[in-house]
Amino acid sequence: MQTIFLSILLLSTVPVAAIAFYKQPDTAKKLGTAGILLGCIMGLWSVWHTLNAETIQSITWNWQHILIFSISIDRLSAFFLLTIFLITAASAVYGFHYLNETEKRLRTLINQALLGILASAMALVVIAHDMITFLLAWELMSISSCFLVVYDYEQKETRHAAYIYFIFTQAGALFIFAAFALLHSLTGSFSLTSGATLPESTKLLVFLLAFIGFASKAGVFPLHIWLPHAHPAAPSHVSAIMSGVMIKMGIYGILRLYVAMGPNSIVFGRTILGFGIVSGILGVLYAMGQHNLKRLLAYHSIENIGIILIGIGLGMTGASLGNQTMAFLGFTGGLMHVLNHAIFKALLFMGAGSVSHGAGTLAIDRLGGLMKRMRITGITFLVGSIAICGLPPLNGFVSEFFIYNAAFQSRTLSDTDFLLTLLAVISLAVIGGLAVGCFTKVIGIVFLGEPRTPNARHAHEASPSMRYAMQFLATLCLAIGFLPTIFARPALLAANSLATGLKTQPITALLQYQTMMKTSLYISWGAVLFALSCALFWWLRTLAYKNKPLSFTCTWGCGYTKASARIQYTGSSFAASILEFFRPFAPVHEEIREPAGVFPTKARYHSFISDIAETFAVQRIAIPTVRFMRSLRWIQQGSLQVYIGYIVLAILILLVATWLWR
C-alpha cells in the first residue's frame, strides 16, 4: 500500500518540481522522466504484491467529518494499474526525445508535468473506493488530459479538438454524477461496493446512466465523436497514453459498477454485447476511410473498445445464465484485450509520431517507402499492425482467442442468446478481416513502395529514446504472443474478482486455472509451430537460393519501365471498394473541381468519409439546440438593472410558490 502512494507521489510531484529548472531544459527533462519512470516501477512493484496478496488492502481518511476518502486495491484495480504504469513508462521515455524543441522548453516541461499528473489521476481512479474520491480523480484525469491535448495551442484545429473533448468529457461526467447520486440516494452510502441489494430495474437505470458516462470516455459508438478529433491533435506520446490507457478507465468504470451491483439480469450482457458489435464494426470501417494516420488509429481505438465490450458482454451473459466457463473466459479475454490493446496501440501511436517527425506529414497518401528510411520504426510498426489485426503469433490473437473460446461455450444457451453469440463471432471475424484490410493499407502505402513526396524521400529515423520505447513495446507484443501465461494470470485473477458478487458461484479456482493454462498453452503451441515452420522454410529458401544469380531491376509494369511514384495505388483507392460496400453506414463525400476552359487552372479533388454519429449529433442535436437557445437570447439584455429585476422576480415567484404550496 505504501509503495503505491509513493509511486503516485513521485508521478505527480517530480515532473512538476522539474519545471523549476526550466533554465536547464535537459536536466529538468531528465529529472522529470526519471521521476515518472521510478514512479511507474514502484507502481508495478506494488501491483505484483497486490496480485499475490490474499487480502484486499484499504485505507480511509476522514477530513473534518465532511469528506471521507477511502482507497482500496483489489485485483481488478491491480490489473488496470499494470496497464497504466507500463504504458506511462514507455510514453515518458518516448516523449523525452519526441518533444525536443528548445523554443518550447517551458511548454514541454509543463506537458511532462501534466503527463505525470494524468498517470497519477488514473491510478487514483482505479484505486478509489468511494464515489467522492473516484469522481475527484476522474475530473483530475479529464482536465489534465484536456491540457495535454492542447500542446500545440497555436493551431485552430487543436483548440477545436480540445473543446469537443472537454464538452464530451464533462457531459459524460454529469451522467456518472447522476448515476452515483441515484445510487447514493437509494443506499445512503458513498461506497463503491454498495448496490447489490437494489431491485433489478433500479440497477438497470443506474447502470445505463453510468454506461452513458463511461462509454463517452471509452469511445463507444455513437459517443465516440471526440476521439477522432482529440487523438490526432495531441502529441503522439499523449495519444498513446490517452488511447492506450485513459479510454480504458471507461471500461474500468463499467466493470467496477458491475461488480458493485452484481446484476443478474441478462439485459446487461446483451446491451454491452450489442454496443460492442456496433462499435467494433463501425470503428474499423471508419478507420478504413481515413487519410490521416493518427485519425485512422483513433478510429481503431473505437474498434478495439468494441472487441473489449464483446468479451465483457459475453462474460456478463455467461454470468447471468450460469454458464461459468463462458463468463470466466469472456471476462479474461476482455481484460486481456485491455492490456494488449494498450500495448500495441501505444506502439502504433508512437510509430505515427516518428513518421510525423521523420517525414513531416501524417497524410497517408503523401508517404511511402519509409521502411527503407526508418527501419526500426517500420519493423516495430509492422509488429504493432499484425498485433492489432489479432493475428498469431502476437498478443492481439491471445485475447481474441480467449473471446472466441468464450463464444464457443454457447451451445446450451437459448436460441436468442445463441444467435447473439453467433453475431458476436461473425462480427469478430469481420472486424479481423477489415482490420487486415486497414493495416495492410497503412503498411503498404506508408512504409512500403516508393516515396510519393520529397518529404517522404528524405525521411529520417526516430531519435534514440523514441526507438527504445517502440522496441520495448514491440518486444512485449511478441512476448505475450508466445507466452500468454505471464499476463493471462493477472487477467484471470481480475476476472475472478468480477464474478464474486454474482448469484451463481464461480467455478473453482483450480478449474479456472486449468482452463486458462490450457487455452494459453494452445496459443503458445500455435505461435511456436508458426515460428518453427517459418524457420524451416526460410532455411529451405536459403538452400534453394544457394549459388543462384540474383538481379535487381525496376518493378514489372507490362513493359513500361519509366514508372513514377505517382502511379502507385493510393490508400484512398485501396479502401474505396470496401467503403462502397458499406456505403449507408460510411458515406463518402467528394469535392471535385475539374480542369475547365481553354487554359485550365489547377484541378482539385478531395474525398472524405463522414461519421454518421457525428453528422447526426451536429445536424439533429447541436444545431437545433443552438437555434432554440438563440430564440431565448432576448433574456440576456446586458444591463445590470434587468438582471437585478430578474433576481427580484425569481424571489417573488418562489415566495408565492411556497406560500401556495402550504
Binding site: Y404, F408, F418, V430, I443, G449, Y545, C554, G557, F574
Partner: protein
C-alpha cells in the same frame, strides 16, 4: 501405446502423401478445362515440372522491394503446411489437434494474407495494388461465412477442432439426420473454396490481363524459388478447403475404405471446380461480393434451420 504410435505414424504418412499429391490434384483442374474445350492440355504432372523449373532458377527482384517481399513466400508456404497438420485427411484424426485449432488455422491464413497483400504493395506497382485491394475486400466476406459454419458445427457436435468435427462417432457429415441442411454448408464451402483460392468466377488464374486478376497479379514480381514456394502454398490451401468439403460429404467409413473414397471425392471436387471454370465466365468485380455473400446467406440459413429442429 502401440495403437497410439500407429495413429501418429498414419497421420504423418497422410500429411506427407497429401503434400506430395496436391500439385497433381491441382493439375486436374487444368486438364478438365482443356478437355472441355477440346484440347489435349498439359500433362498431369505439369505442376511438378513447374516446381522443378522454378527451383532451378534464380530471381529478379524489384529495386522498390524490402525484406517483406522476400518473407512472404516463406510465410505463405509455412502457414499452408501448418494447416495440413491440423487437417483430418480421409477422416483420420489429424497429426495435431486441440480445442480451438480451427480458429488458429483460419487466423494463420489471415497472417499469410496480410503478408501477401503487403508484399504486393511493396513493389510499388499499380497493378499489384489493385489486386491487393480486391484480396482484402473479398477475404473478409469469406471469413464471415467460415465462422458461421464453425458456429454451426459447434452447435451440432460441441467440439471446436477440425478433428473433432469430422472424426469419431458424432462426426459431422451429410449422412447425419441434419444432412439435408449440411448440403447447404457444402455449397457454401465450395463458394468459399472458389473465392479463397482465386478460381473462376471470382478470379481467373489463367488471364494475362492484370486489371482483371486478384491473386495472380499480386505475385507478378515474384520469380524463381520464391514463386515456387507461393505456388506450392496456394495448392496446399486449395487442398485444405477441398478436404473440408470431402470430409463433410463422406460418411463414416472403415480406414481401408476411407482413403479410396476420399481420393474419389477429392477428385470430384477438383473436377467440379474445373467444370465451373469452363462453363462460367468470371463475374464483374461488383458481382463478386454478392456471390460470396450467397455463401454467407446459405450458412446463416442453415444455422436457423438447425436451431428450429
Amino acid at each position: 501405446m502401440a495403437l497410439e504410435v500407429m495413429r501418429v505414424l498414419t497421420s504423418i504418412l497422410l500429411c506427407i502423401l497429401s503434400i506430395a499429391i496436391t500439385p497433381l490434384l491441382s493439375a486436374i483442374i487444368t486438364k478438365t478445362k482443356a478437355f472441355l474445350v477440346g484440347k489435349q492440355g498439359p500433362p498431369l504432372l505439369i505442376n511438378y515440372y513447374t516446381l522443378v523449373k522454378l527451383l532451378k532458377k534464380g530471381s529478379v527482384y524489384s529495386e522498390s522491394t524490402t525484406f517483406v517481399f522476400r518473407t512472404m513466400p516463406v510465410i505463405s508456404l509455412a502457414v499452408s503446411v501448418i494447416a495440413i497438420l491440423f487437417l483430418p485427411i480421409a477422416k483420420a484424426p489429424s497429426l495435431i489437434s486441440f480445442s480451438g485449432d480451427v480458429i488458429l488455422v483460419l487466423y494463420l491464413f489471415g497472417i499469410a494474407r496480410f503478408f501477401l497483400i503487403i508484399a504486393a504493395l511493396d513493389t510499388a506497382s499499380p497493378f499489384e495494388g489493385m489486386g491487393a485491394a480486391r484480396e482484402a475486400y473479398f477475404s473478409f466476406l469469406c471469413e464471415a461465412t467460415l465462422f458461421t459454419v464453425l458456429m454451426l458445427f459447434y452447435k451440432l457436435n460441441g467440439t471446436l477442432s477440425l478433428t473433432g468435427y469430422f472424426t469419431g462417432t458424432d462426426a459431422i457429415n451429410i449422412w447425419r439426420p441434419e444432412g439435408a441442411i449440411l448440403i447447404l454448408i457444402a455449397i457454401a464451402l465450395f463458394i468459399v473454396l472458389l473465392a479463397e483460392n482465386s478460381r473462376v468466377p471470382v478470379d481467373d488464374p489463367a488471364t494475362h490481363l492484370e486489371l482483371t486478376m486478384i491473386h495472380e497479379v499480386m505475385i507478378l514480381d515474384h520469380s524463381g524459388p520464391d514463386l515456387a514456394f507461393i505456388e506450392m502454398g496456394s495448392w496446399l490451401k486449395l487442398f485444405f478447403y477441398a478436404t473440408l468439403i470431402a470430409d463433410l460429404l463422406l460418411p463414416n467409413l472403415s480406414p481401408i475404405m476411407a482413403i479410396p473414397a476420399f481420393l474419389a471425392t477429392l477428385t470430384a471436387i477438383y473436377l467440379s471446380a474445373g467444370i465451373v471454370e469452363s462453363i462460367t465466365a468470371r463475374f464483374r468485380m461488383k458481382l463478386v461480393p454478392k456471390f460470396i455473400l450467397t455463401s454467407f446467406a446459405l450458412a446463416f440459413f442453415a444455422v436457423i434451420l438447425v436451431l428450429e429442429m
